[in-house]
């Protein structure tokens, strides 16, 4: 099962067979869902053996699901929330991370500790307090309320701090000699050298906001403000009888992320490594 100097043909065959079996288990359900979403109303969904390729592929279910629930509005809300979360996290986490890693001031330790403590508080244990708070601020049932609690993730701040701390200083010292102020050093020297970590923060902020369910479910009550996840839950509750429509809805919700993942794979994997060790 592990490293040896040479791989025997038997081992190779066994490995490929196992890898393919796991592939069927992990990706198969997604393909089955895609297939279901493309099957027309007259095609039997329950044939045996199951038919992965639709007999007459149709996009009709996508039009139909959009007719029943405003699925494109949900998608737009999700895009708004995810993009806002990416921007606030990039700005907030990189600024705070830079201050913690590079600036000298009284209270730096305490500020760093605040982010570590925030990391220890599970979201689920403060969700009622957040709900009450958002109500008191009269923000409930708005997309702003969906974004705010995750606008600057504590983990992202710590990731950025470590990234800045790893950049050699000499570059910044040169800028100081040239008379650059803090802001110029931050934007022109420091930020460009941590692009990789910025990408990780951006991707995980997007994914986190796009996939989030519990918080938007609690905060949003007006269907016009639903994000895709909350909207899908609603769709499932109302129209569960036609699997084709639910399938079309889920494909709309998952396709953008899978596409992003295919394009930006290495950042996803980097994020797991960095986030797990610190988290």
């Amino acid at each position: 099962m592990t490293w040896t100097t040479r791989t025997s043909p038997w081992e190779k065959a066994l490995r490929y067979a196992l890898m393919t079996a796991v592939l069927a288990l992990t990706v198969g359900p997604f393909l089955w869902q895609l297939s279901t979403s493309l099957k027309g109303g007259t095609e039997d969904l329950y044939t045996w053996p199951p038919r992965l390729l639709p007999r007459h592929p149709t996009l009709g279910n996508y039009a139909e699901v959009a007719r029943i629930v405003p699925v494109w509005d949900y998608a737009l809300n999700s895009v708004k929330v995810a993009v806002a979360s990416v921007l606030t996290n990039l700005a907030g986490a990189s600024m705070a991370g830079y201050a913690l890693a590079r600036l000298r001031f009284r209270g730096r330790r305490a500020a760093g500790l605040a982010f570590v403590l925030a990391l220890l508080v599970p979201l689920e244990s403060v969700i009622i307090a957040q709900f009450t708070l958002v109500r008191e601020l009269r923000l409930n049932d708005s997309l702003v309320a969906v974004v705010l609690p995750g606008a600057v993730g504590a983990l992202n701040v710590l990731l950025m701090r470590n990234a800045f701390a790893a950049v050699p200083y000499e570059m910044e010292e040169a800028a100081v000699v040239d008379g650059a102020n803090v802001w110029q050093r931050f934007t022109r020297v420091a930020l460009p050298s941590v692009r990789g970590t910025l990408a990780v923060v951006a991707i995980f902020a997007f994914m986190g906001a796009w996939d989030d369910f519990l918080w938007p479910l609690i905060v949003l009550s007006d269907p016009r403000h639903f994000t895709l996840t909350v909207g899908l839950n609603h769709l499932h509750g109302t129209f569960a009888q036609d699997p084709r429509l639910v399938a079309a809805g889920t494909v709309i919700a998952v396709a953008p992320l899978i596409l992003m993942f295919v394009c930006l794979q290495r950042y996803f994997f980097r994020g797991v490594g960095e986030g797990a060790v610190k988290g």
């Binding site: 592990t2 490293w3 040896t4 100097t5 490995r15 592939l23 359900p29 997604f30 089955w32 329950y46 045996w48 600024m95 705070a96 590079r102 600036l103 000298r104 001031f105 009284r106 605040a114 982010f115 925030a118 220890l120 508080v121 599970p122 689920e124 403060v126 969700i127 009622i128 307090a129 009450t132 109500r135 705010l148 609690p149 600057v152 910044e172 010292e173 803090v182 931050f186 994914m207 996939d211 989030d212 369910f213 519990l214 609690i218 839950n233 569960a240 699997p243 639910v246 889920t250 919700a253 998952v254 992320l257 899978i258 993942f261 794979q265 996803f268 797991v272 490594g273 797990a276 060790v277």
Partner: protein, 315 residues
């Protein structure tokens, strides 16, 4: 005011060589991040502790009631069911999330042709929202779904995965394990990359078979990663919400028997009639148990290592 700390020689640390000229700028840099964390994480925690001792409702701040919420909890049958379910979730999910991704990482560790594709593909369920994944499983586990079709082939009658209290809970657990496979696999792959190849070769020369090499080379080498995965996944499992909410429904399956602790928090504390005081007390239980679980796993891991001696060090 920013100034050199008196009595400390300059350039003691790596960090403070580049200096700011004005003391306000660091705080301006920190302001957005600190504000969000303070207002939406630290303050809510403090207010949760305070509210747990009141009879607050969504629309009224309530009054101090001492330990009444906790006494009510002890008498609340729903609470015990929820605690049982969340506890079972940890007990039954964590062994699988610690072991299966490790085996999977070993499977895709060798640089065979196309292995990068398999690794990426195994990650797909991690990328997808739990809502999407739960709806897919919902369809597959339906009485007439794909899984029951396969079972029919083996002459087993339709299994009511989504109708039975226990089967529902087990299905949700399987979903959690399945969705986490790729995530923990990546963590293990990073750890496996640091295991010296010579160890395996030496063991192979000594005549150790694959199983023996797994238990006496691989496992000791990645033990600290297994502890990390154990800690991460037990906290996550205890806080389970979406999987059960979506498969069993908002009310938690037949007679609410599948309700988990976080589902109970969500159900009691939200909406216009939410009993936020009682829900805050429940939230504190979530917090304390999650923290204890993490400490317990980390402590067990640390103790295990010290009793086993330094050869157990992973890095």
């Amino acid at each position: 005011m920013l100034r050199p700390v008196p009595g400390r020689p300059p350039r003691v640390r790596r960090v403070p060589r580049v200096r700011t000229h004005r003391a306000v700028s660091p705080w301006l840099f920190l302001l957005p991040g600190l504000a969000v964390v303070a207002v939406f994480s630290l303050y809510p925690f403090v207010s949760t502790v305070g509210r747990a001792f009141t009879d607050a409702r969504t629309l009224s701040p309530g009054h101090w009631v001492g330990l009444a919420n906790f006494r009510a909890m002890a008498a609340d049958e729903q609470f015990w069911v929820a605690l049982r379910n969340s506890g079972l979730y940890v007990l039954l999910v964590v062994p699988f999330t610690v072991l299966l991704p490790l085996l999977l990482a070993l499977l895709v560790e060798k640089p065979l042709r196309g292995v990068a594709f398999f690794r990426a593909a195994y990650y797909t369920p991690v990328v997808a929202s739990v809502v999407v994944v739960a709806l897919i499983w919902n369809w597959m586990l339906d009485d007439r779904g794909l899984v029951n079709g396969l079972l029919r082939l083996a002459d087993a009658g339709p299994v009511p995965f989504l109708g039975d209290e226990w089967l529902l809970l087990f299905a949700a657990m399987a979903l959690t394990v399945w969705k986490g496979l790729g995530y923990y696999m990546i963590i293990y792959l990073a750890a496996l990359a640091t295991v010296p190849r010579e160890l395996h070769e030496a063991a192979a020369v000594d005549g150790a078979g694959p199983l023996r090499r797994f238990t006496s080379v691989t496992v000791p080498a990645v033990r600290s990663t297994m502890v990390l995965v154990g800690a991460l996944s037990s906290v996550a499992a205890f806080k389970v919400f979406a999987e059960v909410f979506l498969l069993a429904g908002p009310t938690g399956g037949p007679a609410g028997q599948d309700t988990t602790l976080v589902m109970l928090v969500q159900r009691t504390g939200t909406g216009l009639g939410g009993r936020t005081g009682y829900a805050s007390a429940l939230s504190l239980v979530v917090f304390v148990v999650a923290l204890l679980l993490m400490l317990l796993v980390l402590y067990a891991g640390a103790r295990d290592r010290t009793t086993r001696g330094p050869e157990g060090e992973a890095r």
